[in-house]
Symmetry: C2
Subunit: 228 residues, 2 copies
DNA sequence: GTCGCTTGGTGACAAAGTCACTGAAGCGCC
DNA sequence: GGCGCTTCAGTGACTTTGTCACCAAGCGAC
């Protein structure tokens, strides 16, 4: 139950589609959900687990990833505020096991919904259905995109695209990230990332120091990312 | 519209969940859908397309796959009778583009549902929702499994697992399939499949002739598929 | 038979992953 | 400052996988 008016407002603002639901729906939502706080690194789902609740993220981000036997891993997607791990939803609605890992990348505040409500609201709320399906389709596209990248794209180009994406959102040419972290994002291994970065550095496209990658020639990097 | 009582019965038998829906729902379904026949090789969805209808497969199978720029491809999953391409569903419900290709692997008879009905039935029929979510979750698991295999498993083992799977369902030791077809299933290339098969052949685990692979030592193959 | 198509084989190379090891930077602590 | 620890990065040797170009074997049509 969420009683605090301020918390209620925050929930509505983080999940804008709720504004368009009937008063009664929101009242039921406030009555049925609970607020949880999870620390950094908290494991939310283990590969093969049954999901028992659906978390709607208010603050912080979750990371969903696949882990291989050899210890290598790859990030599939992130769950940001206003989103939810809809793979969980589909597992709840179908009673299947969750096929990956999910972990709190930063401290997370989330509102958890029980399976009974997830199901019921699918029947009673048009908006809820739209919200859930929008997320599912989005995740599917992300995962399909990852598969495409892994299978069909060269690692140096994937790495460049990833770095350029980071520098764009951060509006910074300096990226603070270890080679290991990059390997995890792209599903590669540290050594290979190091080698690729070294190659790019030797061509003067970027510069690396411990924990930092500085993009020197962004136009050239963009070119390189697109070439055959 | 499907009027023919025999066709109606066939539809109900292929999609058993329909038996559990109210009479009124089935009546509406029969009234709103149309039967189509598609020839082998017919392209159903193009990567990036908007989906405009949901096909429920009665006979035949569809194949959903990703195609890389270099021409390599990988099969993501198949759509069998009684199933539907639910990725299409999620695209319809969210208005996103379909992120892969879909093609008729054999001649397909399907019943097509328009987006308006797909949406409406999500609201009106509990059974329909269950059906759709069951399929979505199943596909997600399949695609996640493919990603896992591609990233973390060795090709020889994936190939063996695939071949053993075929020989099991066919209860045959002889598999009629070209190296190219195997490459497409596993997202590899013909040359590599040839090499791996050659290796297995030289170890006496199987024998290859043009278009045919004969599994000679199934226990040894099973062992090999599990080793580190 | 010959022609042409499909299928499979091969060698050389490039890209990526693995393993074992080294070295270097940062940090806390005394 | 110096010491020790941990984290991060670099390297070389090797394996696996993908790519390219080209050739050879099988098979059907005529």
């Amino acid at each position: 139950m969420i009683g605090d008016p301020w918390q209620r407002q925050r929930l509505l603002d983080t999940f804008p589609f709720l504004h368009e639901t009937p008063e009664a729906f929101r009242a039921e939502l406030f009555a049925r959900v609970t607020l949880v706080r999870l620390p950094v690194g908290q494991l939310i789902c283990h590969d093969g687990d049954q999901c028992t609740q659906l978390p709607l993220v208010l603050t912080g981000t979750g990371r969903v990833y696949k882990l291989g036997e050899n210890g290598r891993e790859i990030t599939l997607y992130r769950v940001h505020p206003g989103e939810s791990c809809v793979v969980t939803t589909s597992c709840i609605l179908s009673g299947r096991a969750f096929p990956a890992f999910a972990v709190c990348e930063s401290a997370v505040e989330a509102v958890v919904v029980r399976p009974a409500e997830v199901r019921r609201w699918m029947a009673t709320s048009e908006r809820w259905r739209e919200y859930v399906f929008g997320l599912i389709a989005g995740r599917l596209q992300e995962v399909f995109g990852v598969l495409d990248a892994v299978l069909f794209q060269r690692l140096d180009q994937r790495l460049i695209v990833y770095l350029l994406g980071l520098s764009e959102t951060g509006s910074e040419r300096e990226i603070h990230m270890t080679h290991q972290a990059l390997a995890v994002e792209l599903g590669s291994s540290r050594e290979v990332i190091s080698r690729v970065l070294k190659g790019l550095e030797s061509q003067g496209l970027l510069r690396t120091t411990r924990g930092v990658i500085e993009l020197l020639d962004i136009p050239a990097l963009e070119l390189r990312a697109r070439e055959v």
